[in-house]
Amino acid sequence: MSTIRVTGLHVRHRRTVALDTVDLALGRGVHGLLGPNGAGKTSLIRVLSTVARPSAGRVEILGEDVGDPRRCGPVRARLGYLPQEFGYYPGFTVSEFVAYVAWLKELPAADTPAAVARAVARVGLADRADAKVRTLSGGMIRRVGIAQAIVNDPDVLLLDEPTAGLDPEQRVEFRALLRELGATATVIVSTHLVEDVAAACTEVTLLDAGRVAYRGTPASLSALGERTGPDGMGDNPIERGYSAALRAHRTGAEALR
């Protein structure tokens, strides 16, 4: 059962094409969105978060066509979104910030305090709940961002480079949280760190130059890397699989021209 269905998606920023005829169907689990810089990862996440409007194509989330503004509201209430860059109001504490997003997501006022406490605890910031966000380190602010994204227990969770700014230990912990969230929700994680995908994702989608270059599982990507042997680019099978898949896609794309 797919929670997200994308057909013929085009996204254009002025004259450059960010996404070109992307078709995807994603269900429950943790989906890694891989690709080089400028491949269209952020563009795809912003369209799925209903923030950006596609130039063409159809996006269905939780069975609703989000191109229709009237259907957007209920879907948005079930979304969680961590933008690549996000700001905060300087005077807000961690729990105020998360509670504010809960309010924006129309969580019932009575449930908000418990939901906020739970989200803040899940990212390990319970002891900093009353600290001003501006006093926190970069990695902690990232975790505040994750907390606001999960405060409504979303069915669809979109995380754009969530591990940026986390130290290795925190990344290991974050992957466990991802696996936990992926048990009940559709989680999409964009990253350029192949090892994050290997550790936490159930499925992999590789984007290149606005197109889907590869779809599979971390295991199948590793297997692809094994086949290319140790002379392929990358330090481990999955990294070699990543570069092999990219190369295969690029030569395929050349051949079509």
Binding site: Y89, E96, L104, K105, L125
Partner: protein, 385 residues
Amino acid sequence: MNASSWHTDDTLAARYADGTLPDSDAWSLEKHLEQCGTCATRVSRAVARTGTATVLAEVREAVLAEARGAVPAKARGAVPAKARGAVPAKARGAVPAKARGAVPAKAAEVAGPAPLPTPVARPAVPAPRTHGARLWSSRTGGPRASAPARPLRPFRSARTGGPGGTSALARVLWAAGPAVRGAWLVAVVVVAVGAVGLAYGAGVGGVRPLLLAVAPLVPVAGVALSYGRHADPLYEIVASTPSGGLRLVLTRTAAVLGVSLPLLTLAGLLLPASGAPGAAAWLLPGLALTLASLALAGYLGPRAATAVTGGGWLVAVLVPALAGPGAAPLARLAAPGDTLVVRLTEQLSRCLDGPLAQGAWAAAAVLCAALLAVRRSAYDRLDRR
């Protein structure tokens, strides 16, 4: 990682219990324990063979004693420091059946409603890094809530109100958005107080026409600073929530108007009339320009829209005042202030006085409001506009 095909053995469980198992293996094991009772029991037994079990029992005893309200000095003092920090963390990971169920649940009960003199649930000392303490690490080294934080303490914060929820005031401020909290609010107060101060403190004449010329720009500026990528640091998140879009735009605009209309009109009333239109004459133009900014924002985005309407108003009011018949505009700028003020007053009268002018502003406001209603879906995605 299939639950049915893989199980722990005693060696693995023992290494997990004494904390010598590498991180990655421990993670896998913990994941497995969530669904496998047999292995949980095995790990539980392994932990019982370590010293942890004794400490755990002590903690449990102390927590129960606190719960009963009778807090013997022993329980408070005697819980060893390492027990407060290390053990609950350990317990959470290593003894799932017992610790997740019985002990922290009690701890949560205790830490919740009744304020405690020494809450046992909170580690009073930094917990040593053990393999069991695997919540997110914080680098601060301060007290960590990594203890029984899973079964959650009810959330309390003096600043956001009691357990019933966030305070009404906080919600009103949230609705008001960035402008009413930030520099814009200061600017409004400075304009209002400054105008009155200029007129009475410095004895400058003709302040009211100046205020009337500036006043309609104030709510327009408030709109510019309320919504959109350039104004709201949270915009990207806001735009993905059901509150984003026209409703939040209107809520924030209402807050902007609610602050600026009374404040500036009151300031105008306090100023000497000096032939200028009435102090309330700017209200309809102010409203019309604000709504025009919102309507245009659906096409141009908030920043460009407010620049167009605000600039348009300034041009309409100032240019005729500066470029009257006679001398060159530059000379006019250098002309005595009085002449400029007289011209400005005349121009403002043309724009604001009389039923015809006011009627036109009202019509414009209605028209813009109608345009807003028709194009409401455009505000869902103001991005790249």
